[in-house]
Symmetry: C2
């Protein structure tokens, strides 16, 4: 089978590309060709079959059609302008996150108009489709009332994915990813960055800043779990979804205090002492509007799996990013 | 104030235009200018102030900008490709119902970029944003999982209306209208037409066909109530909505049997005998997927009002359409 990954240069895209290349198959079907696309050239991965990289901006005229012309059997769409940038640049957010996705759907539909073609399309949505006020644990039938343009664009994409699937143009499935922890790399300016920073930095002997209280609760999954969701979505029997093609992925609801206790158990008191509490009211106010917990019953029943403890999440990071060793 | 009605040639648009022209004011502000726009030329209404009609297809380049250039204070957007046509012509439905609405929002945003301008925008959404399975009474926080392209387009429009309002580009409010009963005019081919036909036709001595069982339950409001919703939305303090700018309007949950009993009370046995039961399994199957009841708690708390009985709905029709006399 031929797989196209759009957004292959991002953190999840790189891990997914590597996982697919290493497995060589999806759901028992051999991968013969792997196309890695992004707005910046994705790094190639080691792969026994055919591998190619493509630089493409989906929102540019003809770009989607050209990617789809090779009729990939399975398409992952991970690309997005992130929350902060979509809020700062209104036009760019809508152009990439909404129009880009719609152009991809249209390209697939028109390709199918030439000769039968209904690829599986795995779309990464986000818990940002939900906006406060919400219940302590958000259920599978709770409405989408996003409080960001990014969340709005993702919620619209989910509706389009549903309708194009119902009409038989594509075989879509959307996964609302939890906040990814521990995000590898350097601390970034994302408001949610501290959830990762307070674990990742101490594990390599660096200080990290905690801008909110220890009672703040949020919804997490590891990068490894996120890749697992996408691979599971790629081979799921979508008839089980009916016409509700998007799902809140399972995850772990944990407080900052629970993150810190897990860090203490896995890496000791010395690591915990590297967390510096510097309250930031602006960040605290933003975080207060974020989801804290999900039921995710549907996704669990469909076989999606996430970590059951913060200890597991930290250990996954140590294995996948630190070669199994804490760098304290 | 200057009011623009887009979709003024439709059934609700005509009644709304006439109501505004007759009242001469909205929320105590005098109406000085009334612009009636539609894809076909709307009939002028009798109005003491400035009145003009415009033929415009919102999805055509420049059309929205040209309507908005006069900077109306209040815009009603009622125009849509209806459910059946949006399902039959995929491109047309998306072009008019999604792109047309987005072009209107963009035109308002760009007009506001020249000099401050944030008009009130009243948008008619639909209960078609909901798709089965749903609870017996749909609550205000139930998710949108439409089962038609029309419902998808309306759900997307609601998300856009929210985001453009949150960003301060427009002051939007969306009203999800119940099925309108009694729809004036001739029987049409809409699958939902029988809900009106079995009341309207017997009231003028004509036969009507009932294709489903008497236990079928659905969600109704009169044309008079629909106009009332839009007028109330035009003057509501939208701060009370927060960033959840769309509402399920109140209505009446009633069975076909209850429609028939109300007809018997208002117009007698002779009217009821004109209903011919001709079961149609295809229509029955479609109707089984439609909403039956809504809580509409938010809308009621915000002062939206609908009829409390089918008798009232029938009497409103007799007053508004039959000059107060049953034509049996």
């Amino acid at each position: 089978m031929h797989i196209l990954i759009i957004g292959a240069a991002g953190m999840v895209g790189r891990k997914l590309s590597a996982a697919l290349a290493a497995a060589g198959q999806v759901g028992g079907r051999q991968i013969t060709r792997l196309t890695l696309a992004d707005v910046v050239a994705p790094a190639p991965v080691e792969f026994a079959g055919g591998m190619e990289t493509a630089t493409a901006d989906l929102s540019a005229p003809g770009a989607a059609a050209s990617l789809v012309a090779a009729r990939p059997d399975l398409v992952f769409h991970l690309a997005a302008i992130v929350s902060g940038e979509a809020e700062a640049d209104f036009d760019k957010g809508y152009r990439v996150n909404l129009d880009g996705f719609r152009l991809l759907l249209e390209a697939i539909r028109h390709e199918g108009g030439k000769a039968p073609y209904v690829p599986r399309l795995v779309f990464t949505s986000s818990i940002a489709v939900f906006g406060a006020p919400f219940p302590e644990a958000i259920g599978d039938e709770f409405h989408s009332t996003p409080l960001t343009s990014y969340g709005t664009q993702k919620a619209i994409d989910e509706l389009l994915l549903n309708d194009y699937s119902r009409r038989g143009f594509v075989d879509g499935i959307g996964i609302r990813l939890p906040t990814i922890v521990i995000r590898p790399g350097k601390p970034n300016l994302a408001a949610s960055g501290f959830f990762s920073n307070i674990l990742r930095e101490p594990l390599v002997g660096q200080e990290a800043v905690l801008p909110v209280g220890r009672d703040v609760r949020h919804w997490f999954a590891s990068p490894r779990a996120a890749v697992g969701f996408l691979l599971h979505a790629a081979q799921l029997d979508t008839a089980r979804l009916g016409w509700r093609r998007s799902l809140s992925a399972p995850g772990l609801s944990a407080t900052v205090g629970e993150e810190i206790e897990a860090l203490r158990r896995v890496a000791g008191e010395r690591a915990v002492r590297l967390i510096r509490e510097v309250p930031d009211e602006k960040i605290a106010a933003m975080v207060a509007g974020w989801p804290r917990n999900f039921e995710a019953r549907r996704a669990r029943e469909l076989g999606f799996m996430a970590e059951a403890s913060m200890d597991e999440i930290i250990r996954a990071h140590i294995e996948d990013e630190l070669g199994g060793r804490i760098g304290l």
